[in-house]
């Protein structure tokens, strides 16, 4: 069945919904999502969304931009970062005007708190001297993402946006370098639909489920990235995957940096505040890549605590904050500690370990969310991307906390605006009569397969190996092992069995398609990590422990090649006002 819309948005998290709100009513717009919009992963973000509002103390967007560039370990494109940090203030006001409930300060303005890596000069006359933490994160208790997602969804209801919920997109319709729509199947009925469109925006989020311990929801399989990659378009900087330092032990459930923003302290088994040795000025509020490395280093040197599952953890101590602060400002995360670990955070420290959290890399775009065809910056007509699945690149080698929610609303809106502009002159092209045949074939093959491989086994092996060999610390040997493991898993994937043969709500089939996407994203990640012979941001090579600005101030572009290793190309980093410096906190 062919459906025609001026715009198709794939994904209904923060970026997709914000883009949808931006499309004027005279254009038809469909939002396709594999989960109901309010189930999207944006809702799990906790601590805040940042902008230099100066509601609590003096701050400036330039401070924010500097922190973002430094936090990115100088891999972020500074033109994009300037766009985001300047627009942040307007974006927060817009959310407030849309109805988002925020915690407030004494003047009734939006309250702000400290967060990792967000700083300002201790002395305003010495802009590049010593820096101190600044209150820049706007929040709504520790449910900032939840209320943001609700607010954006509410605004799409107000604007009467058309949704196709629980539809799974399987294919990008690309003809002669132009995107003409997508193919999706309705999970409830297995019916295939062709969505013909003048413009498509991908906003499908991250792929944390490629790792064993992750804060990401089960839906986080990077479907949009894999769609683009398999269509022969590049994925950028996939070697940069952020491990959040404080995942709940065993489960990986996020314990927001807001816990440390409010004064929480990390301790090793000796009760020592170990961050003092790694980041003497900001300590526990150092950026995530540094804190995660510090935790793993403590554990490797024997100062972790051995858990009953055989893994090691350290402690996040909130006990000195008092019950009132904990209950008022951190109710959700302390609830997780009680529910899942039986730990009472007002009297006992919380066991935590790093958890795979955020993809800095993704579908390369320019600042208008137009998808890049290649490392020269040429664009793909009719194709846009925004949010975690995209790489603008504002996060570079390491994202600062609270910059992800900001990214969603700033670039979701910009994508919507760019599409609006494009629609003024765009028209529907002719659709190839074979459109949808490929998906039909893929699904038929999976459904008819009598293979012996179990989907869950391949996925578990992938997640374990990625955790082991492509996690916080990486080596040449580990990555080579991972490459051969991937080859093995890809072969075995050809022999998988979808055991549920039903056409009604077949989640077994969905898991098979998601697994293929995980394998594709893992491939781009591992090969990019193998090639980058330096340590920068979240990409730490033990065999190349230093950042190498001479050779590696560039973004990796990975191109999929059928039955071959991916091809890697490179694009220089955009540097405007901040020259690379040593990254110390």
């Amino acid at each position: 069945m062919i459906k025609k819309f001026d715009v198709v948005i794939v994904g209904a998290g923060g970026a997709g919904l914000r883009a949808a709100v931006e499309i004027p009513k005279e254009y038809s717009c469909a939002v396709i999502s594999k989960v109901f919009p309010t189930r999207s992963h944006t809702g799990t973000a906790q601590g805040g969304v940042c902008a230099a509002l100066s509601n609590m103390e003096d701050d400036s967007w330039e401070n924010h931009a500097f922190d973002t560039v430094k936090g990115s370990d100088y891999l972020g494109d500074q033109d994009s970062i300037e766009v985001m940090c300047k627009d942040a203030i307007r974006a927060i006001m817009e959310l407030e005007h849309m109805g988002m409930p925020f915690s407030r300060n004494e003047d009734g303005k939006i309250a702000q708190r400290q967060f990792g890596g967000h700083t300002k000069p201790a002395d305003m006359n010495d802009p590049y001297g010593k820096r101190v933490s600044v209150k820049r994160a706007c929040y709504s208790a520790d449910r900032t993402g939840h209320v943001m997602l609700q607010t954006l969804y509410e605004n799409t209801i107000k604007n009467q946006v058309t949704f196709f919920s629980e539809y799974f997109v399987t294919e990008l319709l690309m003809e002669d370098g132009v995107c003409k729509g997508v193919v999706a199947f309705d999970i409830a009925t297995s019916e295939l639909h062709i969505f013909q469109a003048k413009a498509v925006l991908i906003a499908t989020g991250g792929y944390g489920r490629v790792f064993r311990i992750t804060s990401n929801s089960h839906a986080g399989t990077g479907d949009g990235m894999a769609l683009v990659y398999k269509a022969g378009l590049p994925l950028e900087d996939m070697e940069f995957f952020q491990f959040h330092p404080t995942g709940l032990w065993k489960l990986g459930i996020l314990v927001s940096e807001a816990a440390r923003g409010e004064g929480g302290i990390l301790k090793n088994k000796d009760g020592e505040r170990f961050m003092i040795r790694y980041a003497p000025t900001v300590m526990d509020l150092a950026p995530r890549d540094m804190v995660s490395r510090a935790i793993i280093t403590e554990i490797r040197e024997g100062r972790g605590i051995r858990g009953s599952d055989g893994t090691d953890y350290v402690l996040l101590d909130l006990t000195h904050l008092g019950k009132e602060v904990i209950d008022d400002k951190l109710p959700e995360i302390t609830g997780f500690a009680r529910t899942y670990l039986g730990v009472e955070p007002t009297t006992d420290p919380i066991p935590i370990q790093p958890t795979a959290h955020y993809a800095m890399g993704g579908i390369p775009t320019n600042v208008n969310c137009e998808v890049l065809l290649n490392e020269d910056g040429d664009i793909v007509r009719g194709l846009y991307a925004a949010g975690e699945c995209a790489c603008v690149s504002v996060h570079g080698g390491n994202r600062l906390g609270t910059n992800s929610l900001l990214d969603l609303v700033v670039f979701g809106r910009r994508g919507g605006k760019a599409i609006h502009e494009f629609l003024k002159t765009a028209s529907f092209g002719d659709l190839n009569e074979n459109a949808g045949k490929e998906t039909n074939g893929t699904i038929k093959k999976l459904m008819d397969s009598k293979g012996s491989e179990k989907i869950s086994n391949i996925r578990t092996e992938l997640q374990n190996s990625m955790m082991e060999d492509c996690g916080v610390f990486r080596t040449d040997e580990g990555l080579r092992k991972m490459i051969s493991k991937l080859k093995e898993l890809r072969e075995r994937f050809k022999n998988i069995a979808v055991q549920d043969k039903s056409r009604v709500f077949n989640t077994d089939l969905v898991e098979a398609l998601e697994l293929e996407n995980l394998l594709l994203n893992a491939e781009a990640t591992v090969y990019s990590a193998y090639a980058r012979h330096e340590s920068r941001g979240a990409h730490t090579r033990e065999d190349f422990p230093v950042r190498d600005d001479q050779n590696w101030m560039k973004h990796t572009f990975a191109f999929w090649k059928e039955d071959q290793d991916p091809e890697l190309k490179f694009k220089p980093v955009v540097v405007t006002r901040f020259q690379p410096m040593e990254r110390k906190y």
């Binding site: 989960v35 109901f36 309010t38 189930r39 999207s40 992963h41 809702g43 799990t44 927060i92 006001m93 407030e96 005007h97 849309m98 109805g99 409930p101 925020f102 915690s103 407030r104 300060n105 004494e106 003047d107 009734g108 303005k109 939006i110 309250a111 709504s140 208790a141 449910r143 939840h146 209320v147 609700q150 509410e154 605004n155 209801i157 107000k158 409830a188 929801s217 089960h218 839906a219 489960l251 459930i253 959700e332 997780f336 529910t339 899942y340 039986g342 179990k454 989907i455 869950s456 979808v498 055991q499 549920d500 039903s502 056409r503 009604v504 709500f505 077949n506 989640t507 077994d508």
Partner: protein, 236 residues
């Protein structure tokens, strides 16, 4: 340990009506979530077992289901809090049409949510370059109701919903509360008009099932009673 699980199964392509299937699940531990048990079954016993889930820690609201007679989120319920000496009975949320196994058709639930105009209604334009002023005290009055994750555990646990499918139900009315009590909103009257109808708030008979079902521990009945008071005082 090993546990017995009894799950209501239904595949409309081959079953005339739902039936219970027993699983003997081996090697589980008391700190598992019930969702982990469902995954264990799906991944190692019967991959046709169908349920929704996503975040797996009680935020996305996907995996509401009936467990031993009570509506729960499978990901927010640990085995140590269930009597595992007896079979655990798992059924889909009541009163909604079953699509397959534990997956129900939520469209009527979300239609009711849309009826209460779940968005900020304003006539006064906001200040152009700054936020509207709201005291933290006023902001925090909304937080409890804004916690709602739309899992439908409350609405489908309510006997008033069971006897009248048109009843708006607690989740939709809690959403109405969240906006009616927002100092920035100017749509209270039109929403109160919607609640003050035969299928609206007066069908709430303070049975408290919603509170017991809510995985976010929201005191829903209290919020609804405030709305009732507001409507009554309006009529005075």
């Amino acid at each position: 340990m090993d546990i017995q699980v009894k799950i209501l199964r239904y595949n409309p392509e081959k079953d005339n009506e739902p039936y219970y299937q027993d699983f003997n699940v081996k090697g589980v531990s008391e700190d598992w979530r019930l969702l982990d048990v469902l995954h264990e079954i799906k991944w190692n016993y019967d991959s046709s077992l169908t349920f929704r889930r996503s975040c797996a820690h009680g935020i996305c609201g996907s995996d509401g289901m009936k467990v031993n007679g009570r509506n729960r989120l499978a990901c927010a319920l640990l085995l140590k809090y269930i009597n595992t000496k007896k079979p655990i009975v798992i059924e889909p949320l009541p009163s909604l049409p079953i699509i397959k196994d534990l997956v129900v058709d939520m469209s009527s639930f979300f239609n009711k949510y849309e009826v209460v105009k779940p968005y900020l209604i304003t006539n006064t334009p906001p200040p152009p370059d700054s936020e509207r002023i709201q005291s933290n005290e006023d902001a925090e009055k909304l937080f409890e109701s804004a916690k709602c994750i739309l899992c439908a555990c409350c609405t489908t646990s309510c006997p008033s919903t069971w006897t009248n499918e048109n009843y708006l139900g607690p989740a939709a009315m809690l959403k109405a509360y969240r906006f009616i009590n927002d100092t920035r909103d100017e749509g209270a009257d039109e929403r109160l008009d919607i609640l003050d109808t035969p299928d609206g708030i007066w069908r709430c008979h303070t049975i408290f099932n919603c509170i017991e079902a809510c995985p976010k521990e929201i005191n829903i009945t209290w919020h609804l009673s405030q709305l009732k008071k507001r409507i009554s005082s309006r009529e005075m």
